[in-house]
Symmetry: C2
Subunit: 108 residues, 2 copies
């Protein structure tokens, strides 16, 4: 579960891959279709898809000679849960902390 967060966040930390996810949100796409808007070779796109797949964000199936990729939202949900947990905590606790620090510092 910890490694899952690593791979999920890593997969999302790239503009090209986020773009591919956005493309996939419109429906299943082949590797070629995913490559095209990024002006990239098949092989390059294939690597990115593999990263997304390792993170569990994408699934593939063979259709004829194409590989069709589809989204899997589950890991997104995990990452979101993690983020929201911390965000909630920080929003609650940071105000008091901040006041303390400002008082100690004497104005920024």
């Amino acid at each position: 579960m910890v490694e899952r967060l690593d791979t999920t966040f890593h997969a999302l930390a790239d503009r090209t891959r986020r773009g591919m996810l956005a493309t996939l949100a419109a429906g299943e796409k082949s590797i070629g279709e995913l490559a095209e808007p990024h002006a990239m070779t098949f092989a390059g796109a294939s690597k990115h898809v593999k990263v997304l797949e390792r993170a569990g964000l994408v699934e593939r199936r063979r259709v004829g000679r194409s590989q069709l990729c589809r989204l899997r939202a589950a890991p997104l949900h995990e990452a979101d849960q993690w983020l929201r947990k911390w965000e909630r905590f920080w929003n609650t606790h940071l105000d008091a902390l901040e006041a303390l620090i400002e008082a100690d510092k004497g104005g920024e």
Copy 2:
């Protein structure tokens, strides 16, 4: 804003850095205090803090010979917004898509 997502997700894609954020949630800490639970040199910890800082997740101030680090939650919020946007979209649109695919595939 796009690069911001890059750096934020990248900062979060490391177990050590997520651990540091968790430590910082308990209050301000020095570099040494952040390094200790990860059995790491000062220099190593310093690098991680720099990554968190570049992502805007951490701020520092000098106090005596220590560097005190504190959390900044704002970038988390941006990342969370992004995640939630997609999650919402996918949850809504994926069901219909999935049904189509299953029908086409003939059972998994």
